[in-house]
Symmetry: C2
Subunit: 227 residues, 2 copies
């Protein structure tokens, strides 16, 4: 029985990887820069997108896919900010899969490559563990923490921080209200993933937001449509 289990699960993971590969090829052909934003519940993922979308959507055709276990509340929050937002309900699952991203993409574009956005922001399910394991065909995974969660998250959830192209520390406006050892936080990031871009910001007050927006925009600019 264990042997069968391994075989079948391997097949399922292989199919998932293949779908991620097809997404990556489609995004490359269309020149779509894709971010997979991952953080725990309430770290401010939707708030960061709310704050970033107006500036980004003014420069690039931008779309958002928002993963959630049960509600459509996040896509509702993101409506009317210059980008199309589609909610992907995982119906209880703890992460977005490449096949759900494919569903969202089909909804956005009708399968027409000319309708792909230049920037696709994927907000994953609020979870620091499982989404780290799933390739969605993205260019960059972004690991997000909030100051209020305490500074020990990078070493407690190393898989995500190891893979992340950027680390965002949010809720800096609460630095006066909670104790938080910033040196400890960033020293863990430095050990796990020294090359990750680092951002300290407040999605609520917009402090530090410009550097993050510039980083995203640079990713979009660098990604060019394949001839």
């Amino acid at each position: 029985m264990p042997i069968t289990t391994v075989k079948v699960l391997t097949d399922v993971l292989k199919a998932t990887r293949e779908e991620a590969g097809r997404l990556r090829a489609d995004f490359a052909a269309a020149g779509t820069f894709v971010i997979d934003l991952i953080g725990g519940p309430g770290c401010g993922k939707t708030a960061l997108l709310e704050a970033s979308l107006p500036a980004l959507a003014r420069r690039f055709r931008t779309a958002v896919l928002v993963g959630d276990v049960a509600t459509a509340r996040d896509a509702e929050r993101l409506a009317g900010r210059g980008a199309e937002a589609i909610q992907l309900c995982t119906e209880g699952a703890c992460h977005l899969s490449p096949s759900l991203v494919r569903v969202g993409l089909a909804e956005l574009t009708g399968g027409d490559r000319a309708r792909y956005p230049r920037l696709l922001l994927v907000e994953n399910v609020g979870n620091l563990v499982c989404p780290a394991s799933f390739d969605l065909g993205e260019d960059a995974k972004v690991a997000m923490s909030a100051l209020t969660e305490g500074p020990d998250k990078p070493e407690k959830y190393p898989a995500l921080f190891h893979k992340a192209a950027a680390v965002v520390l949010n809720k800096m406006d609460l630095a006066g209200a909670v104790e938080f050892d910033r040196d400890f936080y960033w020293s863990q990031v430095g050990r796990i993933n020294p090359r990750a871009a680092r951002f300290e910001l407040s999605a609520r007050t917009a402090a530090g937001l410009d550097a993050w927006i510039s980083w995203v925009a640079a990713g979009v600019e660098k990604k060019r449509q394949k001839p």
Copy 2:
């Protein structure tokens, strides 16, 4: 292939349920009251245990099993508070399984029922999704949020809040620093699970802690060893 997948996964889930059933029977025979504490990263699970342990361990033989993906930091924080604390490293998995609880229990008791604690506090991996699906043989799952995560968590993670015997809202000491609609939070809990016990507290300042400790102690008192 899909049929095989379902079959094998069903077998795995069945084995997991059976192990949970054996744990529940062993806890019943020993008269051990078991709490499975579930909340997102940084909501304050370890802080709540740190704050509660001295009072509880004075009254009852108490032990703690702490689940974590990668570090032993939480068990280290809990050491020296009157209860034995054992770290269960899930090695990347997003939840505690009944078999890992069995490993921790064997470590605590050497399999000797006379050495079972009266109160076993299980701190699950920081995750609002996956741990809700796994029976650990506990008497009560406790759903924990922090004020700083925003008030929309119950309806975004309904499986956990539906199963929880109690809901703990932590970090009330930050009520002045962050906006939080308490009525909205508790009205969701009321819709999903009207019978859940409700606690507002601050693990940091100990405000509201007594009611929570009394609830836990009442559970221990009610659970009697089977003859």
